[in-house]
């Protein structure tokens, strides 16, 4: 066995490019392991965990690039390193293709496109707030995709945003649709008269996609970041965005999606929302819908219902969901599970949250790395216990690597582990389509499922929901067929998937 490494001082590549190159190098003949990444603490820990660390990495900084391969012999290791270097050079050239000069800063970019009005920021969290402040001070709205931004930084940015009447969408904002333009992870959704404000990335994707599937469309979908309605941030962007939609003549119905706001934020939020003379559908995930109704808003019990009610208010007539709970549950009739436990492997945080809320009343001992009320915290996020539903897009999994909607590796590894567990009967997961997302996540999941079945000789039931639209770049029908051909039960919404899971797991609430 040979381990080879190269450190390139002050050479930067983004996490997606590095993930793709790592995966390509790992596939080379004779390569046992590879890490191609920036010199972050996370990557150094990965090297240590894999037994690839040496003192040569001691002085490395997050601004340095590291390449490390472990191979069967010297020749394979040298070839792998050479291949990695070649891939990096190719990517570097490709990123600049078609333009004479690729600006290194926003200030330089402004010379090429002086009237840019939105800055999408997806740099590592430690530097993200700085870039956002530069954008705001230049009078541009910010979509802050980056996570690992502190709440203090968020407060400072949003205070500046309010002062300048500029949106700060995020941090950790995966999705937005502004004037029909999808930013980062967003689905191809037709334009219509429903405006959405969401402190939830996949919540926004699920609702906008379902609105499209139900035949309706949206004006704006504004993500505000999961902490916006916390006590510290005080709903600054939610209020700004809701008022803007209230004044927007093209918006007829407003949808608001968030975790329940902090108690100190709720009263002022309701008071402001009541000033808006338009119907508002409110889905505060896990909150009492009756309390919302009493305030004069239209409550929803889940993401699918939020989409349905918005469409009904828009069209003034009843709207059917793509698959009823009864039809979804019926697909579980006659299924025999080879084990008593459920494992849910989500890339979408809100979908994971929704799955827990819908299932914990019927499944005792439900664990998660992001447990909702009634569920329990996993002792280790890497190891499932009894019934487990994991959000693999949570911060602790994404530090130093790409999001699981882009990088399937973590879920693939987990599928192999869960399948081999003799107590596992059902494995559920989401496939999120749209711009920014992996072009063939269904194919990646199926590859892992087949590998897992072969390695373990076990055949737990697999079930998935697809979050996306027929107009998304991945070809939804093809994704669905790929899953179905591998024996995966496929559902058009998370709610339908969970209705199936409930029926399949009936009597297994151990």
């Amino acid at each position: 066995m040979t381990i080879r490494h190269v450190i390139r001082k002050e050479t930067y590549f983004d996490s997606v490019t590095l993930m793709q190159i790592t995966n390509e190098v790992k596939k080379l003949q004779g390569v046992e392991n590879a890490v191609v990444g920036m010199g972050t603490d996370f990557n150094i820990d990965s090297l240590k965990r894999l037994g690839l660390y040496s003192d040569a990495f001691a002085g490395i900084t997050p601004a340095d690039l590291l390449l490390c391969v472990q191979a069967g012999d010297d020749a394979a290791a040298d070839a792998a390193l050479a291949a990695a270097e070649k891939l990096l050079t190719t990517r570097k050239k490709a990123s600049g293709a078609g333009t004479a000069f690729v600006p290194p800063t926003q200030e330089a970019a402004a010379k090429q496109l002086p009237d840019a009005n939105v800055v999408v920021i997806s740099v590592p969290g430690a530097w993200a707030a700085r870039e956002a402040e530069i954008a705001l001070r230049a009078g541009r709205h910010v979509m802050l995709f980056s996570d690992n931004v502190t709440v203090e930084e968020e407060l400072k940015l949003k205070t500046l945003g309010v002062e300048k009447n500029l949106l700060v969408m995020g941090p950790d904002c995966g999705t937005a649709l502004i004037n029909g333009v999808p930013l980062a992870f967003a689905n191809a959704v037709r334009r219509g008269d429903i405006g959405i404000v969401a402190a939830s990335g996949t919540g926004l994707q699920e609702v906008t996609s379902l609105i499209h599937t139900m035949g309706y469309g949206i004006t704006q979908a504004i993500g505000v970041g999961g902490r916006d309605l916390s006590e510290k941030i005080g709903g600054k962007m939610t209020l700004m965005a809701a008022h803007a939609l209230g004044e927007d003549p093209a918006t007829k119905v407003i949808v608001l999606i968030s975790k329940p706001p902090a108690p100190s934020v709720l009263g002022p939020l309701y008071a402001e929302l009541k000033k808006i003379r338009k119907p508002i559908v409110v889905y505060f995930i896990g909150a009492d819908p009756e309390a919302i109704r009493k305030e004069g808003f239209t409550p929803a019990h889940n993401l699918q219902e939020a989409a349905q009610k918005a469409c009904e208010l828009s069209g003034g007539k009843a709207v059917a969901v793509p698959m009823t709970d009864a039809d979804a549950a019926a697909k579980a009739d006659g299924l025999r599970l080879p084990g008593k436990y459920l494992r849910g492997l989500y890339s979408g945080g809100t979908l994971c949250d929704e799955a827990q809320r819908l299932l914990h009343p019927v499944l005792a001992d439900l664990y998660s790395n992001t447990p909702v009320k009634g569920c329990q915290m996993l002792h280790s996020v890497h190891k499932s216990e009894k019934h487990t539903i994991v959000d693999l897009g949570d911060d602790e999994f994404t530090r130093g690597r790409a999001h699981p909607m882009i990088d399937p590796t973590l879920r693939q590894e987990r599928i192999v582990i869960e399948t081999a567990d003799p107590d596992v009967g059902l494995i559920a997961f989401d496939v999120v389509l749209g711009y920014g997302a992996h072009m063939d996540m269904a194919g990646e999941m199926v590859a892992a499922i087949e590998k897992a079945r072969k390695a373990s000789g076990r055949k737990p039931v697999f079930a998935a929901c697809i979050c996306g639209t027929a107009d998304d770049p991945q070809n939804m029908q093809k994704q669905k067929r790929t899953l179905e051909d591998a024996g995966v039960q496929v559902f058009p919404s998370n709610v339908a998937l969970i209705a199936f899971v409930k029926r399949a797991m009936a009597g297994k609430g151990v």
């Binding site: 930067y12 900084t61 997050p62 601004a63 939105v118 009078g139 004037n179 770049p473």
Partner: protein, 68 residues
């Protein structure tokens, strides 16, 4: 200079700072976008970045005062 008062009536024009594929998606849809080839400033040294930013802020303030 944009504002939320005008954004919904403007064409969206984007700077993309970070993951290049986000810019590629926008380009494919015909959205004007400039990708910023970002790298950690000042070699990733946060203290140096802070000092540089402070100098930049002083310069801006000085220029504003000089103009007035």
């Amino acid at each position: 200079m944009s504002s939320l008062k005008t954004l919904f009536n403007e064409d969206v024009k984007v700077f993309n700072v970070g993951i290049p594929s986000f810019a590629d998606d926008l380009k494919r849809q015909g959205v004007p976008v400039v990708h910023v080839e970002w790298r950690p400033p000042a070699g990733g040294n946060k203290r140096v970045i802070e000092l540089l930013d402070r100098i930049k802020a002083w310069q801006a303030e000085y220029q504003t005062q000089a103009k007035s």
